[in-house]
Amino acid sequence: MMVQDLPAARPPRRAQWRKLARGNGGVAALIALLVFNALVTPNFLQLQTLFVNISQVATIAIVAMGMTLVIATGGIDLSVGAVMALAGALAPLIFQSALGTAYPGLGVAAAIVLPLLAAVACGLFNGVMVAVLRVQPIIATLILFISGRGIAQVLTNGNLQTFKNPAFSYLGTGKILGLPFQGWLALAIAVALFWVVTRTLFGRYVLAIGGNERAAHLAGGPVRRVKIGVYVICAALAGLAGLIVVAINSASDAARNGNLMELDAIAAAVVGGALLQGGRAPVFGAILGALIIQLVKYTLLANGVEDEVALIAKAAIILAAVYVQQTRKE
């Protein structure tokens, strides 16, 4: 065969770097935030600050990564906050039940597995609504957005459930190599999802469906199954985040767990470079987005700005991210 001097010979890793680099507006914003905080915010450059931020950003990041997959197919999932509340409400009920207290090890395991299964069921519901019944994603997921938290509150009679269970609390308070457990968990999930998106059949179909659903279908792609799959993954990750929040607080509050998380997650995904029309799934971008949103929140809080103003700042970030997306389109 003739040796051709085609640039195609260079590794495709280049392309992935290019995709990553597209988010460099976000990286710049993150660095600016860090520098600003280092100069202005008191006690910013301390380990304690780092821990607080990592433990809080992890839940946003985990949910935002699931959201990124859903958005990559051209969908959206409003129910993540409600699924967090539901999973979070179930966990203490399970390990504090008669059986759970009799067999503590089994109880904790069940308190993690069963809520995640409940979350998966929620994801199945969303996925079937969207992919099979062809309900618009925003409406389909609105159903659980409303009812999911309701179910969680009914399960707990609307009460705050407090508990002491060190094994379960490890999810939210444990440390590996001195850094919060959930930070490592988020990182592991990111690596796994990055692999799924870039290396697997499923990931390729996710991007193809978001890029041109008709074409993916005519090329024999399993459009329904893949769409259901992303909603299931998104819901499972939301359930996990719900468990972490409960573990951090050693208390489950169905009314507040995951409240407004759908907005944070969508914002983080968009800031991270996900296109709302689909076709792009920047998993690490979602983490970057989550970091920016968390840092803005923290910056304002630590400098005595009121919470309500922080909301406005968040809106401004989303606006900026959407603006950048619009101008990037040719």
């Binding site: 085609l6 195609a8 495709p12 991007l207 005519l218 090329a219």
Partner: protein, 506 residues
């Protein structure tokens, strides 16, 4: 008689691409005037200039004897020109009355809508068309035909002198078409002119007085419909003098040698809906079977049926020895059928994905092991196709949207060749690609059947069909009407067959 409308020497270009180059149109008062032409002939551009959607670059437009100044739909309406679009631009959830008087509501005290008067007026106008319906009901609760008639009634109630109908019968059944024709005749009797755009030639003979033909942005013919034959109209649309068509080699297909192998694919009496009611087709190994037909004859629907995209309601499709038709595209692909859609943008490319990812989209399941894409094999395969088909791309990671139309089409062709199919269904494989790429694509197709596979070829270009296909199955209004075999097919014979002219079979 002074013409109602006279457009002469109209020119229009979009970003340097000529859409109209010397188009003209003349409509007499009380005349039903047909406008025909192939896709891209410039019909809709001309209409949009007339209704003020586009501004003309050159030319003159006289309406009722005076230069027309129309800069938008509202002005067109006020001048007396109403358009009934293919896609109705009414509001289905609001009442019939609201749709009819929208923008011209009778007012009380200058602010409030006088509903009693509005309903009365709407009912009265509809009665004039012989339509007696509850005007308070939402428009969407009525059939498409009624909705269309409401649109026409609205137009006429606003003192339209010219009603433009764009493919008005495309979603109507036979009895509804009769109702529509009744209304059109009523308009003519009332002195209102109708500009009637349709692909269905039979309709033109049924209700039109004169017909204007456009081709490549020009008006090429205008004649009374009485005395014209379908063959005349088709000849004018395609720019063929039916008397002197010589089958010179103008494509890369070369003459089809009719070596008939075993039967690969057979469709018998296949129907999927109103657009495809009886498809009969047999495809042998080593054969290209063309699907001939005018727009709306059911060619694309036939392809979709064979590919399992539209459910088959009657008849049988057999692929080799599989007893039933594929139920989904995925199933069709698994059985060795590929389908290149005519709409490259909407159904072909995934614009944001790379050449590599687009090329392997249909092959993906076979490139994966345990759900993981075998990237080394993928790259090798993509490189092989880029070399073999001469796809011009900087790099297999280049987004496909950055490629030229011809190269995009080659990537899509490669997407289907990669699954090593037995049968390829190609819907307009060379549409919108330049001459060089076109010849290359034709050579690839010939090469493919040379290996003992089969191709079903759909093309609006006659020379591609005549020279490329070993046989041509001719469709007319959703039915297989005849079949022509090479050698011996001439464009003349094909044109006659398309017109469903009996002399062909004689």
């Amino acid at each position: 008689m002074q013409p109602l409308l006279s457009m002469t020497g109209v020119e229009k270009a979009f970003n340097g691409a000529t859409a109209l180059a010397g188009a003209s149109l003349e409509i007499l008062p009380g005349e039903v005037h047909a406008l025909i032409g192939q896709n891209g002939a410039g019909k809709s551009t001309l209409i949009k200039i007339l209704t003020g959607v586009y501004r003309r670059d050159a030319g003159q437009v006289l309406f009722r004897g005076a230069p027309a100044r129309i800069a938008g739909p509202r002005e067109a309406q006020e001048a007396g020109i109403a358009t009934i679009y293919q896609e109705l631009n009414l509001v289905p959830l609001r009442s019939v009355t609201e749709n009819m008087i929208m923008g011209y509501e009778p007012k009380r005290l200058g602010v409030f809508i006088d509903w009693r008067e509005a309903h009365r007026r709407a009912r009265e106008i509809l009665m004039r068309f012989g339509i007696d319906i509850d005007v308070r009901a939402p428009l969407g609760s009525y059939s498409t035909a009624i909705q269309q008639l409401v649109a026409i009634a609205r137009a006429v109630s606003l003192d339209a002198r010219l009603v433009i109908m764009d493919e008005p019968t495309s979603s109507l059944d036979a009895s509804e078409i009769e109702v529509l024709f009744g209304v059109v005749r009523g308009l003519r009797a009332a002195g209102v002119s109708v500009l009637y755009v349709s692909h269905f030639l039979d309709e033109l003979f049924a209700i039109c007085d004169r017909v204007t033909t456009m081709r490549d942005g020009r008006t090429v013919d205008c004649r009374p419909i009485a005395g014209a034959t379908k063959l005349d109209l088709i000849g004018a649309m395609l720019g063929r003098d039916t008397a002197e068509i010589a089958a010179d080699g103008m494509t890369e297909f070369g003459g089809g040698a009719a070596r008939q192998g075993e039967i690969l694919l057979r469709a018998e009496g296949v129907a999927t809906g109103p657009r495809l009611s009886r498809l009969d087709l047999t495809l042998h190994r080593g054969e290209i079977v063309g699907l001939g037909g005018l727009l709306g004859s059911g060619r694309t629907e036939a392809a979709r049926a064979l590919f399992g995209e539209d459910p088959v309601t009657a008849g049988a499709i057999r692929l080799k020895d599989a007893p039933s038709a594929p139920a989904t595209p995925a199933q069709a692909i698994a059985r060795g059928i590929g389908f290149l859609s005519e709409d490259r943008k909407a159904e072909g490319i995934v614009p944001g994905m790379s050449v590599r990812e687009n090329l392997t989209l249909a092959l993906l399941p076979r490139l994966a092991r345990n759900g993981q894409v075998d990237r080394a094999r993928e790259r090798a395969l993509v490189q092989r196709f880029i070399d073999a088909l001469g796809i011009k791309t900087a790099d297999m990671e280049q987004p496909i949207r950055e490629l030229s139309g011809g190269n995009q089409q080659k990537v899509l062709l490669a997407r289907w060749l990669a699954i090593e199919p037995e049968v390829l269904i190609l819907d307009e494989p060379t549409r919108g690609v330049d001459v060089g790429a076109k010849r290359e694509i034709q050579a690839i197709i010939r090469d493919f059947v040379g290996q003992g596979h089969g191709v079903v070829l759909i093309s609006s270009e006659f020379e591609e069909l005549v020279e490329g296909a070993d046989r041509i199955v001719v469709l007319n209004e959703g039915r297989t009407v005849t079949e022509l075999a090479n050698p011996g097919i001439t464009e003349d014979r094909l044109v006659r067959a398309l017109a469903h002219d009996r002399r062909v079979t004689a």
